[in-house]
């Protein structure tokens, strides 16, 4: 029961909002302003940074890399997360232990995840090649992070390891809230297992899917530490994503105005992706 109170909300909401506007809103506006300044100084406004950006083939590759990276990561997160959640939703021996283990990769910082796997992926001294050779799956050492065709997939595989637990947790919570009676009633009516899954489970999970999807997509578009630690965007620009690219433009090439423009594009994309989610949540309140 909420109280329609004229002014008492202000001392509660105001400090946080003010802080947010100062530390976040204000610099964000600054960034937009930088992006419409010409490179190399000058005082007039111009959209030249944006036209340069759209014509730049490296930017287009980076954008494509990011889209590919995010799509593969999120899709794999959902597949593995849903799979494990479905299993953990049943009566399993040692369920708490499995759930504990499954969550572990998500807990550590992504920089840590990145360097552990960089070492695992080491062509000569690393664990992965060692195991695969011992098991007989491969016969020569594979340069996972150096082969242009394998590098992005290798990074995605690590991102799967790091990221699926969150999706699994969200979906598991959703699964656990589906009343058993629905399944029992449908089973009595002669529903097949596939029908139980597609007609009861999936629709009930719709909201959880939206939450998991929205959050995961946004997080993966922003992923920085993992890739920076493993490949720094290499080899070449094979694993360069928007975040590492913008970082380089700012702090390696000092192209402040250009970097701002790219980051504004990235922000617009992120806001467009998350708008349905933001709308849904705020309307529910």
């Amino acid at each position: 029961m909420k109280i329609k109170d004229q002014h008492m909300w202000i001392p509660f909401v105001f400090p946080g909002t003010l802080l947010l506007v100062l530390v976040l809103g204000f610099p964000a506006i600054q960034s937009i302003l930088y992006s419409i300044y010409p490179e190399g100084g000058g005082s007039s406004y111009t959209f030249s940074n944006y036209s340069v950006l759209f014509k730049d083939s490296i930017f287009r590759q980076v954008f494509g890399n990011t889209a590919l990276f995010v799509t593969l990561s999120v899709a794999s997160h959902i597949l593995l997360g849903l799979g494990v959640a479905l299993i953990l939703n049943k009566e399993i021996f040692a369920k708490p232990l499995f759930r504990l283990i499954a969550l572990l990769p998500w807990v550590v910082p992504d920089v840590v995840a990145g360097i552990i796997w960089k070492w695992m992926y080491d062509p000569i001294y690393g664990a992965l090649n060692d195991l695969l050779i011992k098991v007989g799956l491969i016969s020569t050492h594979i340069p996972w992070l150096y082969n242009p065709r394998l590098a992005l997939l290798s990074v995605v595989f690590v991102n799967l390891w790091r990221g699926f637990p969150f999706v699994m947790l969200i979906l598991l919570a959703g699964l656990q809230s589906i009343p058993r009676v629905l399944y029992e009633a449908a089973a009595i009516d002669g529903a097949s297992r596939w029908q139980l899954f597609s007609r009861i489970t999936l629709p009930s999970l719709k909201k959880m899917f939206v939450v998991a999807l929205a959050l995961d997509i946004v997080w993966e578009v922003r992923r920085f530490g993992l890739i920076q630690a493993m490949t720094q965007g290499g080899p070449g620009t094979i694993t360069e994503v928007l975040s590492t690219y913008i970082y380089k433009q700012y702090f390696q090439f000092f192209r402040f105005e250009y970097a701002s423009a790219v980051s504004v594009i990235m922000t617009i994309a992120l806001l467009m992706i998350s708008l349905p989610y933001i709308w849904m949540i705020s309307q529910e309140e």
Partner: protein
């Protein structure tokens, strides 16, 4: 079914085992072909080296101070705002909620450029304070949302009872709501702490001297070095991930609850 779980468990645990194993090796053994999984000559040399010769203590101190300060600050202001959103209907409420949500979607790279310039002007570049302010951009919206979720679950009747007894709204907040949602606050502080702890982008952009390096930066820098001494790096990785792992193992239930509380609506 169990087969899948076991496979997933191996997938999840193997890298940790490899990290631990390498961290206990000598440099020579780390470069053995084929690699050993159980060190033949186990040693704590890597750990000692990191603390004594490589300033790991400073990195750890910086990470802890910065992350803790951000976590506490953001949780406090987040609780205030969360209470306001939870208990009051006012014009523009949905818009403000949407605003808080939208700010969580902004990428760090949008802000690092302006932050570099602004902090430099304020003399806060390459300082812990500067980083704490920067981390608020990550932690404040997050903490607000988490605390609102926890406060939503505290029955309004408690507010009413206290108000009837003559308590002011602020009094209700400090004397009724905060104590009751203490577990939620702890969970939020821990989450915010881990969020800040694991960041790389801000620290790599807003620091320049050795004295301000954090754990994540210390690790990331080593990767760019010409010759990586893997036992050292793996011991750094383990120590860097330790706070998260320990907090997780100790407070698992609390963390899981907190995480799903934000997503599941009763």
């Amino acid at each position: 079914m169990y087969g899948v779980l076991i496979l997933v468990s191996i997938y999840a645990l193997l890298p940790f085992i490899w990290m631990l194993s390498t961290s206990l090796k000598t440099e020579a053994e780390a470069f053995r072909v084929p690699p050993t999984w159980i060190p033949i000559e186990p040693t704590l040399y890597a750990y000692i080296y990191m603390w004594v010769k490589k300033n790991f203590g400073i990195y750890f101190l910086n990470s802890t101070i910065i992350s803790l300060a951000t976590a506490v600050l953001s949780t406090f202001f987040g609780a205030l705002a969360g209470y306001g959103f939870s208990r009051f209907m006012f014009n523009g409420r949905k818009f403000l909620i949407g605003f808080f949500l939208a700010t969580q979607m902004l990428p760090g790279v949008l802000l690092v450029g302006p932050y570099f310039k602004i902090l430099s002007k304020l003399g806060l570049y390459d300082t812990r304070t500067g980083l704490i302010i920067a981390f608020l951009t990550i932690c404040l919206p997050f903490s607000t949302w988490m605390m609102k979720g926890f406060i939503d679950r505290v029955p309004d009747a408690l507010d009413q009872a206290a108000l009837v007894d003559g308590c002011s709204r602020l009094g209700v907040f400090f004397r009724v709501i905060l104590p009751i949602s203490a577990p939620g606050m702890v969970a939020t502080i821990i989450f915010a702490f881990l969020l800040a702890w694991g960041d790389l982008l801000w620290v790599i952009c807003l620091t320049s001297t050795e004295s301000m390096v954090t754990v994540t930066l210390g690790i990331a820098r080593t990767v760019g070095e010409f010759r990586i001494i893997w036992p050292m790096l793996m011991s750094g990785a383990l120590m860097g991930g330790m706070p998260a792992i320990i907090l997780y193992l100790l407070l698992q239930r609390l963390l899981v609850q907190g995480l799903t509380a934000g997503a599941v609506k009763e």
